[in-house]
């Protein structure tokens, strides 16, 4: 396993529109890093450039400080798991997994041993003589994982490996991947558009937007300190307050009395607040940061209720555990505590 460093990567087709710009990041040996973003943000392109399947227009890919830009794909010794699994339809499970080892010209004995070992780890031993089309989606996914792992790759690249599985299997497979990654101390780059998936299993998350990196941090930091409105929206923040002007030092210019603390009064254009941090009709009446509104819709979440409240500052999403459930059309006062208003750059 190895360190990966990507420096100033850029990609454009026909020298026209750049689909990747200034992509620089590094992955520590043994870390699982996710690349998160909507489709078309360039995450798969980044992965394919690192794999060597397509050339970069600018920039470098370094593995253990060695530039691999001139190394053809078949000499890089990476593992890759594709979205379509890309199994070889004319080969049995065993031969699919053995392919990489045959390319390395290992002895028959060694191939047999290593394939059987990885088939055991991935729970495929019984299926060794089946053909891919005789397998379920989850089984095919495990074959493609086994095929990538068996060669002891320096780096494992995964391109939305779970997106073709149903929800239940997806959760099971993602924790299996994480377990295996930690057991074998693999360096993994994992492309996904599923925020929950990548926050659950990643050491670090790289959020991409329009071919650029928006934020690169641990899941915890991203969750609590999203760098931009885009990231905040992407990871489930719903409430945004536009700040046109700050008046009286700490107050937002609006028809409500919204004040900021010293800490978050940092010339932000947008503020955000998590749904569970908004209080409805607070017990002790705070003198400010209150805003009146009407409940327009409600949702039962099991542990709590989710309300949409229409106010003069826009619609707010609020989560509340209090029972009984409020009803649509209720007039309520929302309390937005100053300390929970996160400033965002646009």
């Amino acid at each position: 396993m190895a360190n990966l460093e990507v420096k100033d990567l850029a990609k454009s087709y026909n020298g026209k529109t750049k689909i990747l710009k200034d992509i620089s990041f590094s992955v520590k040996n043994g870390d699982l890093v996710s690349i998160l973003g909507p489709s078309g943000c360039g995450k798969t392109t980044t992965l394919r450039i690192i794999a060597g399947l397509i050339p970069a227009t600018e920039g470098k890919v370094l593995v253990d400080n060695k530039d691999v830009g001139k190394v053809p794909v078949y000499k890089r010794n990476f593992g890759m798991v594709f979205q379509s699994y890309a199994l070889f339809p004319h080969m049995t499970v065993f031969n699919n997994v053995a392919f990489g080892l045959k390319m390395k010209k290992l002895s028959k004995n060694d191939i047999q041993k290593r394939v059987n070992k990885i088939l055991k780890i991935t729970g495929l031993s019984e299926l060794a003589s089946r053909y891919p089309k005789e397998l379920s989606g989850g089984q095919q996914q495990r074959v493609s994982l086994a095929r990538a792992l068996v060669i002891n790759p320096q780096l494992l690249l995964m391109d939305e490996p779970l997106s073709n599985l149903d929800a239940k299997l997806r959760i099971k497979m993602r924790s299996e991947i994480r377990e295996l990654q930690q057991k074998l101390k693999m360096t993994v780059l994992f492309v996904t558009h599923d925020q929950r998936e990548c926050f659950a299993i990643s050491d670090k998350v790289l959020i991409m937007k329009d071919g650029r990196i928006d934020q690169y941090d641990t899941p915890e930091n991203i969750f609590h300190h999203p760098s931009s409105e885009y990231v905040a929206k992407f990871i489930g923040y719903d409430n945004f307050i536009n700040v046109d002007e700050i008046i009286n030092d700490h107050q937002i210019k609006s028809n409500a009395n919204i004040f900021l603390t010293d800490e978050n009064n940092v010339d932000a254009k947008v503020l955000t607040i998590r749904p569970e941090n908004i209080l409805i009709n607070p017990q002790e009446d705070p003198s400010n940061n209150l805003i009146g509104g009407t409940i327009t819709s409600l949702e039962y979440l099991g542990q709590s209720f989710k309300y949409k409240v229409s106010t003069s500052l826009g619609i707010f999403t609020v989560e509340e555990a209090r029972k009984p459930m409020r009803s649509s059309g209720d007039k309520v006062q929302l309390y937005l505590p100053s300390k929970h208003l996160h400033p965002l750059s646009r």
């Binding site: 794909v73 078949y74 594709f82 979205q83 339809p89 004319h90 392919f99 390319m103 053909y131 089309k133």
Partner: protein
Amino acid sequence: MKTRSGFWLLFPAFISVLIFAFFPLIQIAIPTFQTPKGFLDLYTKFLENTYNLHVIGRTFKIALITTLIVLILGIPISLWIARQKSKIKSILTILILFPMLTNAVVRNFAWIIILGRNGILNKFLMSLHLINSPLNILYTDTAIIIGSVYLFLPIMIISLVGSVSELNIEAEEAAAVLGANPWINLIKIVIPQLVSGILTGCILVFAGAMTAYTTPQILGGNKNLVMSTLIYQQAMTLGNWKNASVIAIILILISTSSMILMRKASHTLDRRSDSNA
């Protein structure tokens, strides 16, 4: 019920095959067995003649070499066509099919002009001083093979393009990431997945080359007979219809058994098709 209605739906087709293909065949076959000296007399006589064996051998050789060359040329061409943008792809497909719109006689005459003693090819090679005297290509087996390759290449390409379009490019990329260079990728990943298209193409080309008449007649001349031209000679020049029928039956047997062999071979190559069949 289901098989019943299927039978009646197929009935018209069944009857027309019976009337237009099967009965004439029987009519050709039956007289060949009706000889005073026994059941297979005409066949043994035909096969005892070394000249006839030579013609059978030549026919088989020409068909086999043509099929191989067409296959070797067809695979890269169809891979290339299948991976173009759809607009370019349809233009290329039309270009491939275009020669098939012309009469076979016309196309073969073009090759006479190219391959003849004072033809374009010889003039070109002599002007480059690669050869001193013109090559004798026209009216040889080589000429027949060249003409057949040109004739049958489009058929092979059309049979292959379908299979090639179904290939998952990610499987090739996966093989590349696993260490397969482009050459190994072609041999181990791409071609094995094309077996069904290759089989269809080979059967069509082989059967076509085996039974072709115009090309060996025009490019082979009178000395290089193949089975189909021999049939013509027997029937039309010598008026020996029975002998012509004997050759026709042998030709049918050879081409049918070759096709069965090809099917068998492709099944062992591609074990997946077992479960399909």
